[in-house]
């Protein structure tokens, strides 16, 4: 053995599972005197970013002379045995290895943006360079004019990954075309890393796993449009991503990939980080601009579009993290290679955050046009606990749901739009029979209602009224014509709101009514079929199962449960606050829910 490499998954998920301790356990185990010196010499240890399957963290790769073995669910106390048996002894610890599902999870994926995530050390620029990083920047400055870059990106068919799917090359071309003398020279490029969709984490994982690809995308974009300054607008809720991005920007500056006179080309460009302050609407481009300028993040009417009048009134291109991270790969491998993936109108791959009730939750990258069935069953491994699939929600608070009978649908911009959902930024949440669709709609609406900036009336008041109606429906106090009212009001809010937030906020409601109208009707009858909506449930104890252990009595916050030890207990319905604590603690399934 000449070369030993240990890679520990240390994205937010990996660290939460104890990645830091695992890494230091390897460090101390390998420094033991009993380990042969040449092994210690040839050994390197790396933190790597997310490789998608955070549910199996901590994932550890052991590479011996480039042959890779992957372990799952590793804890610090397991490290010694891996070192003794595998690294020193040569026999991998077979029961801790990743299983078939790990390989199935990866098999149907095609990784472009994520190709280096989980493989390279995001805190070390050399690690990125060693896999071909910054080759694209070098190529652009050595051989391409800005127009060539734009032509290549246009040809690739890349469309914005932030939600709207606008062709990136067209956007760049428009910005390049703005006469510099009219605009006093300055242009800006902004990377949108606000990632507001609650339940999506693609951009976080890309920045945590490969921040340099985003920087490279920005440099190339800046060169193409003629911008000298760039901003990354990133959520403060992502401290690790911010930290790694800061490190990466400093390292890139030191190597002169950004800064003054980049690679002796005479082109200047530098990047600043702006921390978001917690407002979903700031993901919208005009609101984001207002926020960078230090104001309340309220959107304004378009046109003028930011490419003509953006940050401080100057021409500005705003691109999503994933859009930008695609750029270096397109430049190096060519537009034709990129457009060989995907469908006619949706080229390339898309990263999705697959979450909810699937077996393998995590980050996936798939070619556009893959069927939903392949995503849920082949990659996701099917529904958790073998329950029944009820719906897949895509596009978060702006999106809609897809029902099990539509599983053969191709996942691309056009096909999803046709059934009333969207690709969106890439959140994909799987719901099973235990989820109440009215509750899900109410959840999204309470999110958009709270995040509505209040500037325009349809959104500010419309979302509030919609939410009130949903609230009374889930409390069993719905009125007969409430469903019609939701439909009417929803379509009004959509057509009259100022920005994308209001224009899409009713989508989750409209789409759940379209496909799950019977659930709404059941609520109007005072029943929640999925047994989720608290006010429509009653709790009682099933005497024949109750062992009288007293667990529920202790857990009840309202003191509604009485009973002697070893005797069946009772719940007093007039005191019960329906919190479900007794249901959760009962080990004997003796608490009934109706």
């Amino acid at each position: 053995m000449n070369n030993l490499e240990i890679k520990v998954c240390m994205g937010t998920g990996g660290i939460a599972a104890g990645g830091t301790d695992v890494l230091s356990a390897f460090d101390s185990a390998l420094k033991e005197r009993s380990i042969p010196a040449e092994l210690q010499m040839g050994c390197s240890m790396h933190k790597v970013g997310c490789r998608g399957l955070c549910a199996k963290d901590v994932l550890v790769d052991v590479l011996i002379d480039d042959s890779r073995t992957t372990y799952q669910y590793i804890k610090p106390e397991m490290v010694q045995r891996i070192v003794d048996e595998h690294i020193v002894g040569g026999n991998p610890v077979s029961e801790w290895l990743v299983k078939e599902d790990y390989h199935n999870f990866h098999e149907k994926q095609i990784k472009v943006v994520l190709s280096d995530c989980g493989n390279i050390d995001p805190e070390d620029i050399n690690s990125y360079i060693s896999v071909g990083g910054y080759k694209a920047t070098e190529k652009v400055f050595a051989t391409m004019k800005p127009e060539d870059v734009i032509a290549e990106i246009k040809k690739s068919g890349l469309r914005g990954r932030g939600g709207a799917g606008f062709p990136t090359g067209v956007k760049w071309e428009a910005c390049r075309g703005v006469q510099p003398n009219l605009q006093m020279g300055q242009k800006y490029i902004i990377c949108n890393a606000d990632e507001g969709d609650p339940g999506a984490f693609m951009d976080r994982a890309v920045i945590e796993g490969n921040p340099h690809a985003v920087i490279e995308g920005m440099v190339i974009g800046a060169y193409a449009i003629g911008a000298s300054k760039g901003y990354v607008y990133i959520r403060a809720e992502y401290p690790l991503a911010v930290e790694r991005l800061k490190l990466a920007i400093a390292a890139a500056r030191e190597r002169r990939f950004i800064g003054k006179n980049i690679l002796d080309s005479g082109f200047d460009f530098d990047i600043k980080i702006k921390l978001g302050a917690g407002a979903f609407v700031c993901g919208e481009e005009t609101a984001l601009i207002a926020s960078i300028e230090g104001q309340r993040g309220m959107p304004r009417a378009k046109p003028p579009f930011p490419v003509y009048q953006g940050l401080w009134g100057k021409p500005t291109v705003i691109n999503n993290v994933e859009t930008l991270a695609n750029i270096p790969y397109i430049i190096v491998k060519g537009a034709d290679w990129f457009s060989s993936y995907g469908t006619e109108k949706s080229k390339g791959t898309k990263v999705f955050a697959l979450t909810g009730k699937v077996k393998n939750t995590g980050l996936i990258e798939v070619p556009m046009g893959i069927t939903l069935k392949e995503i849920i069953y082949d990659i996701g491994g099917g529904i958790e606990n073998d329950k029944k699939l009820k719906a897949v929600q895509t596009g978060g608070p702006s999106g809609g749901c897809i029902t099990p009978d539509m599983l053969d649908i191709n996942v691309d911009y056009e096909s999803l739009a046709k059934v009333g959902s969207i690709v969106g930024s890439g959140g994909m949440i799987v719901l099973d029979e235990d989820d109440c669709m009215v509750n899900v709609a109410k959840y999204f609406l309470s999110f958009t209602q709270a995040e509505s900036c209040g500037k325009c009336v349809p959104c500010r008041i419309g979302t509030k009224r919609l939410l009130e109606i949903l609230n009374r429906i889930t409390k069993g106090k719905g009125k007969e014509d409430d469903i019609e009212l939701l439909l009417k009001l929803g379509s009004d809010v959509k057509s009259a709101s100022l920005c994308g937030l209001g224009q899409t906020a009713p989508n989750p409601v409209l789409s759940t009514i379209k496909y799950f109208r019977e659930e709404y009707e059941a609520h109007l009858q005072g029943k929640c079929p999925a047994k989720v909506c608290r006010d429509l449930l009653t709790y009682s104890i099933i005497e024949e199962f109750c062992k009288g252990c007293g667990a529920c009595l202790r857990a009840c916050p309202a003191g509604a449960i009485t009973g002697e030890k070893k005797q069946p207990h009772k719940i007093a319905p007039e005191i019960c606050v329906k919190c479900g604590a007794c249901f959760d603690v009962c080990k004997f399934k003796a608490v009934g829910r109706e």
């Binding site: 939460a16 999506a200 984490f201 403060a236 809720e237 978001g276 926020s291 993040g297 479900g580």
Partner: protein, 155 residues
């Protein structure tokens, strides 16, 4: 306090002069945004106080009241929601005797916050306790963590 504020105001003048950054730095220094600080900046920088209040009430990140010593942030993003975040939050509220309006305990030992998605959805439900991320949380585990913290701060 005066000194810190002076320094922040000086940075503000010398740099781009961004109110959000100024408030972020103020909060970093004091843990919240004291009212005195706003009036100080308003006088010093000749910017109406209403603009500071406007910005600080717009963004969820800013606090105008001091927060507890231990910060518990429960994620209520979609993935966490469908995996039972509401139960966790209700459990923690009960344990800490908090209400919807009041999210800091009377002894100022705990603040319970909610955010929409911390980006760790695949290990939902997620709770962050004093900046450490805990995945696959249960109401039981959370109550235990709170009890431990309470004990620690009593010692």
């Amino acid at each position: 306090m005066e000194k810190t504020l002076q320094k922040l105001a000086k940075d503000f003048r010398e740099n781009e002069g961004n109110i959000i950054s100024l408030l972020q730095e103020t909060q970093e220094a004091f843990g919240y945004i004291p009212e005195e600080a706003v009036y100080f900046f308003s006088r010093e920088l000749d910017i109406p106080a209403s603009r500071f209040f406007g910005v600080s009430t717009f963004y969820a990140q800013f606090y105008l009241k001091p927060r507890g010593k231990n910060i518990i942030t429960a994620c209520c993003g979609t993935a966490c929601h469908v995996k039972g975040a509401e139960r966790l939050i209700n459990g923690a509220k009960r344990e800490l005797s908090l209400t919807d309006e009041n999210n800091t305990t009377n002894d100022n030992k705990f603040t319970l916050e909610q955010v929409a998605c911390v980006g760790a959805c695949s290990i939902a439900p997620v709770v962050i306790i004093n900046k450490k991320v805990y995945g696959k949380m249960s109401a039981d585990k959370l109550t235990k963590e709170i009890k431990t913290l309470r004990q620690d701060s009593n010692e």
